[in-house]
Amino acid sequence: MPEPLLQLSGVHAAYGQVEVLRGIDLTVGEGEVVVLLGANGAGKTTTLRAICGMVGTRGSVQLAGTELVGKPTEWIVRRGISHVPQGRGVFGVLDVEENLRVGAWGRKDGKGIEADIERWYGVFPRLAERRHQLAGGMSGGEQQMLAIARGLMARPRLLLLDEPSLGLAQIITRGLFAQLEDINREESVAMLIVEQNAELALSFAHRGYVIESGSIVLSGTADEVRGNDDMRRAYLGY
């Protein structure tokens, strides 16, 4: 097996005295889509935050062999990680195009940035229509598209998505996942996705992990995870 793109080994994370992650081991290969499932409060969001250095973390997080623990967030994201936070986190008082330009902050290739902006407008035509509107005035689905497009503007090797379907209508969620699938296939952008909609996420992911009270309790290919009885009862409801 080649060296994974992202490797978490024995990761502990805590908010103050409250330990949320208790020794997580997790890998994401080059171009691989991995889904992280779990109940509310299990530590899914914290896992993503630990990767980005946004929470006090012990253990090891390596991106293509480079240690990330202890580094500042801005340094980590410049190594090729894009984090699309939960609740989207778009800049409401900036317009759509400015949001995309912020996403390309670490890049110096002006022409490439312009080309990418047009490219994501092509993928998400709604954003093109609203390019000079303030992001804060858009619908939840549009903000989600913007957050993902903004994340991709950095040309990441690894995209971290935190609950991309949160608050979106079913049909929009399906469209969004179809887009993500295309992006993964064409760009070979690796993805680590935290998702409530386990069924949908597993149909698109290569592998999955289940996290419970800060520990990984199950991992395997998407089919293996889907086939596990405990998993089915807990998250798929049948």
Partner: protein, 308 residues
């Protein structure tokens, strides 16, 4: 009512002096807003730092440096001082909460005020004069009687405010640095995740604010003719009121708030003479209170809303 109420020259004079004073409040308000937007702190020492900057101009002038060059040097020094203060004092304190920061800026207010008095004494000194300020340096508009004129100083102050607003707008809206600043102001954590060096944006805001303050203090001294260690004490109050009026996180709001405050403080006692000029501060604060009752976020401010 003033007996001069039907005299256009009198009214124009009130408006001009109101706008000129208002421009000074607007400059201080801008400084307060630029600090507040990114770091969410109110720098109570903003006025005293400005006084220090104006004394730097004075000191350079005393050593024969031409006034505009002296102002340029003082602006650069102020920028560095403001940025350094953010990095060296405010950011370490910030981890301990908002109150230590407020207290630190209050302490700075007192320390700088005392240091200026120690170095340059408590007696007023002659202000540096960037604009021609002789008795004849004015544009006559109405020959009168009574005449209406605009002094070169008043025109200069308004020109500086307009130039600054245009410059700030270009800087914030049209440059990558400005985009980063606005992103940090909009959502600090999201900006960090985008790889924006958040700390440098904080320093940038504090630096620009300090430079703006120095410019304001220079112009305050120019209008008054003298400069002393307490020159900016009252102006800071008006600047804070102007920022509150316009909305604490709005650059255009600071400008409009300052000008509106200046106008109200000049025109209301000028027209209703039973209100003495001494009461203009009270009038100004009443205006601020009324606006805040109707629009708590100020005229141009954004409501804070958190989406989770």
């Amino acid at each position: 009512m003033s007996p001069n109420i039907d005299n256009p020259a009198y009214l124009l004079q009130l408006v001009t002096s109101g706008l000129t004073n208002g421009a000074l409040y607007a400059l201080v308000a801008l400084a307060v807003v630029l600090v507040y937007k990114t770091t969410s702190h109110i720098n109570l020492a903003q006025g005293e730092m400005a006084t220090l900057g104006a004394f730097a101009v004075f000191e350079l002038g005393r050593h024969g440096v031409p006034v505009w060059i002296a102002i340029g040097i003082a602006l650069v020094l102020s920028f560095l001082f403001g940025a350094g203060l953010e990095r060296g004092l405010i950011r370490p304190l910030e981890k301990r909460g908002v109150f230590p920061v407020i207290l630190a800026t209050l302490a700075l207010f007192l320390i700088i005020n005392a240091l200026v008095a120690i170095f340059w004494g408590t007696q007023p000194v002659a202000a540096p004069r960037p604009f021609p300020s002789g008795i004849e340096d004015k544009f006559d508009i109405l020959t009168g009687p009574p005449p209406f004129f605009i002094t070169h100083v008043a025109l200069g102050i308004l020109a500086v405010l307009v130039a600054l607003l245009v410059g700030l707008w270009l800087l914030l809206e049209k440059t990558k640095l400005g985009l980063g600043y606005r992103a940090v102001a909009a959502n600090r954590e999201a900006a960090e995740v985008m790889g924006i060096p958040v700390g440098r944006m904080f320093m940038f805001g504090w630096g620009i604010a300090a430079a703006l303050g120095t410019l304001a203090a220079g112009l305050v001294a120019e209008t008054a003719g003298t400069l002393d260690f307490n020159s900016m004490a009252a102006i800071l109050i008006f600047g804070l009121a102007a920022a509150t009026l316009g909305g604490f996180d709005s650059v255009p709001g600071a400008a409009v708030g300052g000008l509106a405050l200046g106008l109200v403080m000049a025109v209301v006692p000028g027209v209703f003479t039973f209100i003495k000029g001494d009461l203009s501060l009270v009038i100004a604060l009443i205006v601020v209170l009324v606006v805040l009752l109707v629009r708590p976020q100020g005229l141009f401010g954004t409501k804070t809303l958190e989406r989770v």
